[in-house]
C-alpha cells in the first residue's frame, strides 16, 4: 500500500501459511492452454488426413470396426465435438424444466 502500488498481497491459506502456486492466474496461461488444445486437434486431424486417408504411405491403415471410423478423417473427434455441444445445449433446456430452488425438498 505505502508506495508499493500494484504489488499484490501474498496469498495465504487459512493457517496463514504462504502459498506458492498461482501458475494458472498468469496472464498467458489460459491462452496457452487454449492454443495447446487447438494445436492437438489440428495436428491429429492433419495426421489422420495425411497419413491414413490420402493413401500416401504403404502400410498405413486406420483400423476401425466401421467404415465411418476408417474413412472419415477424425471421425471420433467430430463425433465428440458435436456430442459435447448437443449435450450441453440440451442440458440447458432440461434445466429450465427440472431446476428448482435449493431448499426445494426441505
Amino acid at each position: 500500500m505505502s508506495g508499493h502500488h500494484q504489488e499484490r498481497e501474498p496469498i495465504v491459506n487459512d493457517d496463514g501459511a504462504p502459498v506458492l502456486i498461482e501458475w494458472f492466474d498468469g496472464p498467458n496461461v489460459t491462452r496457452n492452454v487454449v492454443r495447446f488444445v487447438w494445436a492437438v486437434c489440428i495436428a491429429t486431424f492433419a495426421f489422420d488426413l495425411i497419413y491414413w486417408q490420402l493413401g500416401l504411405f504403404e502400410h498405413a491403415h486406420k483400423h476401425g470396426h466401421y467404415w465411418f471410423e476408417e474413412h472419415i478423417p477424425a471421425f471420433h473427434g467430430f463425433f465428440g465435438f458435436f456430442s459435447f455441444i448437443f449435450l450441453v445445449l440440451t442440458a440447458i433446456q432440461i434445466r429450465k424444466l427440472i431446476m428448482r430452488e435449493e431448499g426445494y425438498y426441505d
Binding site: 496469498i11 495465504v12 491459506n13 487459512d14 493457517d15 501459511a17 502459498v19 502456486i21 498461482e22 494458472f24 492466474d25 487454449v34 488444445v37 487447438w38 492437438v40 486437434c41 491429429t44 486431424f45 495426421f47 489422420d48 486406420k62 483400423h63 476401425g64 470396426h65 466401421y66 471410423e69 477424425a74 471421425f75 471420433h76 473427434g77 467430430f78 463425433f79 465428440g80 465435438f81 458435436f82 456430442s83 459435447f84 455441444i85 449435450l87 450441453v88 445445449l89 440440451t90 442440458a91 440447458i92 432440461i94 434445466r95 427440472i98 431446476m99 428448482r100 430452488e101 435449493e102 431448499g103 426445494y104 425438498y105 426441505d106
Partner: protein, 567 residues
C-alpha cells in the same frame, strides 16, 4: 493352520474384525481398520484356486464360499478399496462409521465369494444394513430421512432376491448361483433385484439421493461396493442377456445431461457413477468373453478412479464445508496436491491414453463393435464425450479453477493425501502396465492389446475435440454456470408426488368419513329413539305383563328344551 484359514469365509475377517477393533481406543482403532483389509486380502490370496466350501442343509447344497476367477478379481479390488477408504478415514474418531465401513466392505467381499443365492442374499442384506450407518452418521434430521429411503430401497432389492431365489428353487431345484437368465420368473425377479443395486434407469435415483448426503468419508466407502457388487452379480448371472444392452446404453447416456446441470459436485460424481455402470451393464449384455473381461476390468479401474474423485471432493468438503460448484473455485492455490490427484482421476475416467480408463473401457467398446451393436457403440461414444464433460472437466475445473471463490482452505490432511496418492498411482500404473490387471480377468485366454496407433490417435481426437467444444462454449458464455439449485429426478415421485397424492387422498377420505359418520349418527339416533320409545312405559314393551302370560312363556320354553334334549 491351513485348515483354520480354509474355515474362515472371505470377508469375515473384516466383519468380525470391525467389531473387535471397536473395543480399541482412539488411533489404534483407526490403525486396525487399515490393517484389517491387508489381513483379509492375504487370506483371500492364500486360498487355493477355485476353492469352494459347501455343506448340505436338508436337501439343498449351501455353497458358503466359492472363489473362482470372477470372485477373486472383485474380492481383490474390494479389499484394496477398503484399505484406501480406511486410510482416507484415518482421522475419523467415530465407532459407528468405523464399524459400518469395515463390516460393509466385509459383507460385499462375502457376497462376491458366495456360491449360492441364499448366502448371497444374507450378505446382500448385510451390505444394506451396514452401509446405511455411513449415511446416518451425519446425525442430522436430513441424513436420517435419506438413510431411511436408502434402506427401504436396498432391503426391497434383497427381498426381491430372496423371492426370486425361492421361485427359482421351485422351478429348477437348485439355489446354486451360476448363470440365471430371464427365462424363468425367478430369474426376472432376481434381475430386478440386481437392477436396483446396479441403478438401472428409473431405479437409479437412490444413488444420487443417498451418496452425497453421507459423511465425507462415508461416500468414499459407499462408492466402491454396493453398485459394483451388482455388476459382479450381473456378470455371474446374466452374461449375454441382450436386454441389458439397451438398458446399459440408456444408463450411460441420460445421467450425463443431469451431470451438466447439477451443482453439488458429489452428486455430479453420483451421476457419473451411474454413467460408468452403464458401460459395464452393456458389456454384461454383450456377454462375450472379451466383454465380460471388459466389465470386470472396468469395474476394477472404476472403483479406483471414482474413489479417487470422491476422495478429492471429500477433501474439499472437509476443508471448506461445501462441495457445491457455485461456492467453489480457485482452490488449486492452497490445495495443489488434491488438485493434482483429482486431475489424475479425471484423466482416468475420461480414458486418456496412459490412464487406467483407457485400457479398460476400450475393451467394452471393442466388444460392442465386434458383435455389431452399432447403436450401442455410438451411444457409448457419445457417453464418453459426456464423461469428459462432467468428470474430466467440470469436477476439477469448477472446484479448483474457474472463478476464484476467495476461499483459502488448507491442503488435505496427510492420510487423505496418502490414500489419494495410492489411488492415483494405480490409475496411472494400470494405464501403463496393464498386464497384471489383464492377468486377473475372468477369461485369461482372450487376446487384447489396448495400445495401437489407431486407437490412441482416435481417442485423443475424441477427447481433445470435446475439450475444444468446452472451450468454445465457455468462451462464448454458453456453458451453463453452476447455480444454487435442486435438480428434480425420479426421487421427486416418492418425495413429492406420492406424498402429495397421499395427502390429497387422505383429506378426501377424512372428509368422506366425516360426512358418512354424520349420516350414520343420524340413522343410529333414529333407531335408538325408536327402541327407546317401544321400551318406555307407554310403549309396547314398556307395559307391565300379566303373571299368566309369564307362566305360559316359561312352560313353552321348558317344553322346547325337553323336546330338543331328547331328540
Amino acid at each position: 493352520m491351513t485348515d483354520l484359514l480354509l474355515a474362515i469365509p472371505p470377508g469375515m475377517i473384516l466383519i468380525v474384525g470391525a467389531f473387535l477393533a471397536a473395543l480399541l481406543p482412539g488411533k489404534l482403532r483407526a490403525i486396525a481398520g487399515i490393517a484389517l483389509p491387508i489381513l483379509g486380502f492375504a487370506h483371500l490370496y492364500g486360498l487355493p484356486d477355485d476353492y469352494t466350501w459347501t455343506f448340505q442343509l436338508f436337501d439343498t447344497t449351501i455353497e458358503l464360499v466359492r472363489v473362482d476367477r470372477l470372485a477373486f478379481i472383485f474380492g481383490t479390488i474390494f479389499h484394496l478399496a477398503a484399505f484406501l477408504s480406511a486410510l482416507y478415514a484415518y482421522h475419523v474418531d467415530d465407532r459407528v462409521q468405523q464399524i459400518a465401513g469395515l463390516s460393509y466392505a466385509g459383507a460385499a467381499i462375502g457376497a462376491v465369494c458366495a456360491g449360492d443365492l441364499i448366502t448371497l442374499f444374507v450378505y446382500w442384506e448385510l451390505t444394506a444394513l451396514t452401509s446405511v450407518f455411513l449415511i446416518w452418521a451425519g446425525r442430522t434430521e436430513k441424513s436420517y430421512k435419506v438413510g431411511l429411503r436408502y434402506l427401504i430401497i436396498q432391503v426391497t432389492s434383497g427381498v426381491l432376491l430372496l423371492a426370486g431365489a425361492l421361485s427359482l428353487y421351485s422351478d429348477v431345484g437348485t439355489i446354486h448361483f451360476g448363470h440365471i437368465g430371464i427365462e424363468t420368473f425367478g430369474g426376472q425377479l432376481i434381475l430386478l433385484s440386481f437392477g436396483i443395486k446396479a441403478a438401472f434407469p428409473l431405479l437409479h435415483n437412490w444413488v444420487q439421493d443417498a451418496y452425497p448426503e453421507a459423511t465425507v468419508t462415508g461416500t468414499v466407502w459407499l462408492s466402491a461396493f454396493t453398485t459394483q457388487l451388482a455388476i459382479y452379480s450381473l456378470c455371474r448371472g446374466y452374461a449375454g442377456t441382450e436386454i441389458l444392452i439397451p438398458i446399459g446404453a440408456i444408463m450411460t447416456a441420460f445421467p450425463v445431461f443431469y451431470a451438466v446441470i447439477e451443482n453439488d459436485l458429489r452428486r455430479v460424481l453420483a451421476y457419473s457413477l451411474n454413467n460408468q455402470l452403464g458401460f459395464m451393464v452393456v458389456a454384461v449384455g454383450i456377454g462375450t468373453d472379451l466383454a465380460i473381461n471388459g466389465a470386470a476390468a472396468h469395474a476394477f479401474a472404476h472403483i479406483l478412479y471414482k474413489g479417487l474423485l470422491f476422495m478429492s471432493m471429500g477433501a474439499v468438503l472437509y476443508r471448506t464445508g461445501t462441495a457445491k460448484g457455485s461456492e467453489l473455485g480457485g482452490l488449486y492455490k492452497t490445495m495443489p496436491f488434491t488438485t493434482f490427484f483429482c486431475m489424475v482421476g479425471a484423466a482416468s475416467i475420461s480414458a486418456f491414453p496412459l490412464m487406467s480408463g483407457f485400457v479398460t473401457k476400450s475393451m467394452i467398446l471393442t466388444a460392442a463393435a465386434d458383435e455389431h451393436h452399432t447403436v450401442a457403440f455410438l451411444v457409448l461414444l457419445f457417453a464418453s464425450a459426456g464423461v469428459l464433460d462432467h468428470s474430466g472437466i467440470k469436477i476439477p475445473f469448477f472446484a479448483f479453477f474457474a472463478h476464484d471463490s476467495g476461499r483459502r482452505p488448507k491442503e488435505a490432511p496427510w492420510h487423505m493425501l496418502a490414500a489419494m496418492a495410492i489411488a492415483a498411482a494405480f490409475c496411472f500404473g494400470m494405464g501403463v502396465w496393464y498386464e497384471p490387471l489383464y492377468a486377473l480377468l475372468p477369461y485369461p485366454d482372450v487376446e487384447y492389446t489396448p495400445y495401437n496407433l489407431t486407437h490412441v490417435v482416435t481417442q485423443v481426437q475424441l477427447l481433445m475435440f470435446s475439450t475444444l467444444a468446452f472451450i468454445v462454449l465457455w468462451q462464448t458464455g454458453l456453458y451453463p454456470p453452476e447455480l444454487r439449485s435442486t435438480v428434480l429426478d425420479t426421487d421427486w415421485i416418492y418425495r413429492r408426488a406420492i406424498p402429495r397424492v397421499v395427502g390429497v387422498a387422505q383429506k378426501g377420505m377424512t372428509y368422506a368419513f366425516n360426512a358418512a359418520n354424520a349420516q350414520f349418527e343420524q340413522v343410529f339416533n333414529l333407531g335408538v329413539f325408536w327402541l327407546a320409545k317401544k321400551h318406555r312405559p307407554p310403549g309396547v314393551l314398556g307395559e307391565p305383563w300379566p303373571t299368566g302370560d309369564t307362566a305360559l312363556f316359561a312352560v313353552i320354553i321348558l317344553a322346547a328344551t325337553l323336546v330338543m334334549y331328547y331328540t
